[in-house]
């Protein structure tokens, strides 16, 4: 842009550094950093702290890159949803082409750097995660099927597997269980949100389960996934990444989660509207805590291991 163009009235607001950071979805990145770190630290073999730090950073950059690609592709629907209208592309701060360039460049950068910092398995998993989130979920499934959340959840479930692969160079039962924990948690988490944010998705024409099959079916699905999630989450406690601390946390949280899902299932729209979706909102809040505490407990077991306290001895 030349100085002459500054004087025109048609100029776009120029993006600040923070707008490019926002393009990488920092909140999603923080979850990715946390779960990938847990995957890395829970692995039976250690890595040098510098390699661990750099690997987690490159995983986060890869996640951010897929976020930028998502914002590039979804700018049209982001603009009509209240929750996403202020994102850099729909807000006009970053050009769609720029978002695409940032996304593609950072994807390549993150994968190559992760391969150099750790190993090809971790880099391959990261490349697949970016492809899965940007192409399979964002471009293909999100606007096509009400099961979008279920399949898209897989993309968010890969980071602990990548962290595990950084340390071990492979895939293990425990890393698959951590993947499944997030994968099975995502549908009840998002569908609870969709129950009280329905208007947004409907306006954007995204085939959310609440829009295509109605709220009754969504409530049934929340309960079904929660009931499938509970044994999986508790069962993880008996593997090498689990232990008494994890098991205690998992039993309590899953009991609360199942009770919450049952309450959602027993309600109908009239009751929910009467109390402004109080139960759905508290279930959504609990779901955030649920994931954080499960992974926190895995981390605690790993942290206690050097003192002979973590795991099952």
């Amino acid at each position: 842009m030349t100085d002459a163009s500054i004087n025109t009235h048609t100029i776009q607001p120029e993006a600040g550094f923070g707008d490019y950071v926002a393009l990488l979805k920092p909140r999603v990145m923080s979850l990715v950093v946390f779960t990938a770190l847990v995957g890395l630290l829970a692995a039976p073999v250690g890595v040098h702290p510098m390699i661990g730090f750099a690997s987690i950073l490159f995983i986060a950059v890869g996640a951010g890159a897929s976020g930028a690609l998502n914002m590039w592709w979804d700018a049209d629907i982001d603009a009509v949803m209240k929750r996403t209208a202020k994102r850099p592309v729909p807000a006009g701060k970053v050009e769609p082409g720029e978002a695409l360039a940032v996304g593609v460049a950072l994807s390549g950068f993150a994968v190559v750097m992760l391969a150099l910092a750790s190993n090809l398995v971790a880099a391959g998993l990261l490349a697949f995660t970016i492809f899965f989130y940007a192409v399979i979920y964002t471009m293909w499934l999100k606007r096509w099927t009400p099961q979008n959340i279920v399949i898209g959840g897989a993309a968010g479930a890969f980071p602990p597997m990548i962290g595990w692969a950084v340390a071990t160079g492979g895939i293990g039962l425990e890393s698959v269980l951590m993947f499944l924990l997030i994968f099975m948690w995502t549908p009840p988490h998002f569908w609870a949100l969709a129950l009280f944010m329905n208007a947004d998705y409907e306006k954007a024409g995204v085939p959310m389960l609440t829009v295509t099959h109605g709220r009754r079916v969504t409530r049934n699905h929340i309960l079904a996934y929660t009931l499938l999630l509970a044994p999986l989450a508790i069962g993880t406690g008996f593997t090498s990444i689990g232990g008494p601390v994890y098991l205690a946390v998992a039993v309590v949280l899953n009991a609360l989660f199942v009770v919450g899902a049952l309450r959602i299932w027993r309600r109908d729209e009239a009751i929910s509207q009467d109390d402004k979706y109080k139960v759905e909102k508290s279930f959504f809040g609990l779901s955030l805590l649920y994931l954080f505490l499960h992974f926190g407990a895995i981390l605690a077991e790993a942290a206690l291991r050097p003192y002979g306290l973590g795991g099952w001895g």
Binding site: D3, I6, N7, E14, A15, G16, F17, G18, Y20, H48, M50, I51, A54, L57, L116, A117
Partner: protein, 66 residues
Amino acid sequence: MSLRAEHELHRRRAGRNIGLALVLLGFIAIVFGLTVVKVTSGDPMQAFDHVSRPEMVPGAAPAKGD
């Protein structure tokens, strides 16, 4: 308009430039750190100088002086 006039846009550009500079400096530091770690704690390394190395042959007698 004077070129020296401070516009909000200039502040944004300065912020972007400083941000990018810090990111690049951070990247240099990370690559340097990774290099040091890989070189000092990596697998035992041996230069390849196009001559046969008897110690690499399974079952071969150790080289003189070993």
